[in-house]
């Protein structure tokens, strides 16, 4: 169980670094979501299932959806065709 915990904690650190270094905002949100999922597994291992349910529902579910909607509203999600056209123009 200790090895499993260490793997999960290492994944957390990697996720945190990757989320801050990733260039695409969409990738950042997806990495953040996986961070929340791993965090909820860790809460179960730390014997607090109350927090695990809340983390899975709020952190991985609702927060991610709200972030995605915000990105769409500010037109930060660029479709692939658009970016290719932009590259071609340059």
């Amino acid at each position: 169980m200790t090895i499993f915990m260490c793997i999960l904690l290492g994944f957390l650190v990697i996720c945190a670094i990757a989320a801050s270094l990733s260039k695409s905002l969409l990738n950042t949100i997806l990495i953040f979501m996986s961070y929340s999922l791993v965090m909820s597994v860790i809460w179960i291992l730390l014997e607090s299932p109350d927090l695990a349910i809340t983390e899975a529902a709020v952190g991985a579910g609702v927060t991610t959806v709200l972030f995605l909607v915000t990105l769409k509203k500010i037109h930060a999600i660029i479709k692939k065709e658009d970016s290719q056209e932009e590259n071609g123009n340059e």
Partner: protein, 320 residues
């Protein structure tokens, strides 16, 4: 015997205005507290030209590295200072963590008489098998009431910021929102048909069994809210607006918060005056047990589910 007041005189009284405000037919604060719509920005041709020249001159002067010594020094030490600050912060946080008492040791200040009392007498005093729920909804119910109000105030703020009041605004921005998405996506709709009922049932179970096992109002409400968002995404606003509008949300939150406050006021009153509460604690482990905790859980769950859904709708469309 009541005297009938003529209509004109009745319209001047406070009670008539209050009734109008309650019905929503007339808002007494309309045109007095709102921000006025800004005039469209326009300026003369010469002024715009001058502004452009000024801007270019400033940019040329500021970014000329040979003349601007400040910028040169700043650019040199900026990265060094940023790295130094980050290292300082990391070292400080790691030091703080290393000074924390070790996890799970008996003779540390965390394990004082408060937690001992919760663990030893929690079951007898609250009747909740899940000590965490007994703690947050019985010993520290006042905190939870504050949390519910924080959520409600957060929704009010989102409503103030994102709601589109005018009809023409709603038509231009609201209707455009679904243009870029596939309507009636078969995969999404089939997945939603299979997933939404279990999500709702799980959320209701988590709320109702909050005093028996892991869970409670907040987590269950969040699960139900997420299910509502999935349903909305699959089937569109037309279907959800049949049973959930701004009016429903207002009434639901008002009823839940009022119910919570009343229930808790009763137990504060009895507790402060050392009166025996008439609410039976029941047998621990049964669904109808542990006094007020079940009702409080339902109240918190209703508020949280409505809040999550309202956040999403406001971000997405700006109105029900």
């Amino acid at each position: 015997m009541s005297k009938k007041v003529p209509q004109e005189q009745y319209e001047k009284t406070f009670s008539y205005k209050f009734k109008q405000w309650l019905d929503g037919t007339k808002d007494p604060f309309l045109d007095t507290v709102e921000m006025k719509r800004q005039k469209p920005f326009c300026e003369e041709a010469g002024k715009a030209e001058r502004r452009k020249q000024d801007r270019e001159r400033i940019v040329r002067r500021v970014y000329d590295l040979e003349k601007n010594a400040e910028l040169r020094i700043f650019q040199r030490i900026y990265r060094v200072l940023a790295v130094a600050f980050c290292v300082f912060l990391v070292v400080m946080l790691l030091l703080a963590v290393s000074w924390l008492p070790t996890f799970g040791e008996a003779d540390k200040p965390v394990n004082n008489e408060v937690s001992a009392r919760y663990i030893e007498n929690g079951l007898q005093e609250t009747g909740a098998v899940n000590i965490v729920t007994g703690m947050i909804l019985d010993y520290r119910a006042f905190d939870t009431l504050g949390e519910s109000h924080v959520l409600f105030i957060a929704t009010c703020t989102v409503l103030i910021l994102l709601r589109l009041d005018r009809k023409e605004d709603q038509e231009t921005y609201g209707a455009n929102d679904r243009l870029h998405e596939p309507k009636n996506d078969v995969i999404l709709q089939t997945a939603a048909k299979i997933l939404v009922p279990p999500i709702f049932i799980f959320g209701i179970y988590v709320i109702l069994a909050g005093h028996l096992g892991p869970g409670g109002g907040f987590s269950g409400g969040a699960v139900i809210g997420a299910g509502l968002i999935l349903y909305l995404n699959a089937f569109g606003f037309a279907k959800t607006e049949r049973f959930f509008t701004a009016r429903t949300y207002r009434r639901m939150s008002f009823c839940a918060l009022a119910c919570y406050s009343l229930a808790k006021s009763y137990s504060f009153y009895t507790g402060a005056n050392h009166i025996e509460s008439i609410i039976p604690l029941g047998t621990p482990g049964a669904i109808l047990s542990s006094g007020l905790i079940l009702i409080l859980n339902i109240c918190v769950g209703v508020v949280v589910a409505g809040t999550m859904y309202t956040f999403y709708v406001m971000f997405r469309k700006g109105g029900y």
